[in-house]
């Protein structure tokens, strides 16, 4: 079970490292694409980083849901849970 606080901090770190953004800038409500200078193709690096960290595969249809920190956290949780259910069944 991923602890929420740890998950949030890890995801902030992954976004910061993959997109070369200072971690302090990644906070709730800030739009990664609109405010932090990340374009719609660059974001593939962030997608790849979270997929690799959590061993999940996220379809590109989820990208519009991943434009801020909360969105990324929700999507990671959802696909991690799906994966857990798939391996348990």
């Amino acid at each position: 079970m991923i602890k929420d606080k740890e998950l949030r901090e890890k995801i902030r770190q992954l976004i910061a490292e993959s997109m070369h953004i200072k971690i302090e800038k990644i906070t709730e409500g800030v739009s990664i694409t609109q405010e932090l200078g990340v374009d719609s193709l660059d974001i593939i690096q962030m997608l790849a980083a979270v997929e690799k960290q959590y061993h999940i595969e996220i379809p590109e249809e989820e990208l519009p849901n991943m434009e801020n920190l909360e969105g990324v956290i929700k999507v990671v949780k959802r696909y991690s849970e799906k994966k857990k259910q798939a391996t348990e069944s």
């Binding site: 193709l41 660059d42 593939i44 690096q45 997608l47 790849a48 997929e51 590109e60 990208l63």
Partner: protein, 144 residues
Amino acid sequence: MLDTNQIKNIIPHREPFLFIDKILNIDNKCVVALKKVKKDESYFKGHFPDKKIMPGVIIMEAMAQAAAVLILSQIPHQERKNQLFVFNKIVQASFKQPVNPGDELKLTVELIKLISKGAFVSAKAEVKERIVATAELLFGRISR
């Protein structure tokens, strides 16, 4: 294995700007390509007149062309003609060892992520099992 003609059926690159000779292996996630570095490559005349070294950017272009084979081979033939993959970002690149005339360059490219807008790959180039260059590259897909 794919030869030069089969490669030309997949990617649009042509001489004097085609930098892969053969594809050794290919699947959905990974391609291995070969390039024999000839003594009379056109770029050697200027790079450099007194010491022939394959330019790092050409090694990177060869990686990109192998990546293009990997990506375009997964698209139906009739759709391939409508799109091009072009460099969007060099995420990172390093050139560890010079590549000289007579070397056989082995390029291994792995597809990290493919989306409708483009692709993210990691690549390495080796000569006699020694890594001579590595790169992470981002390509954008554009319509012709």
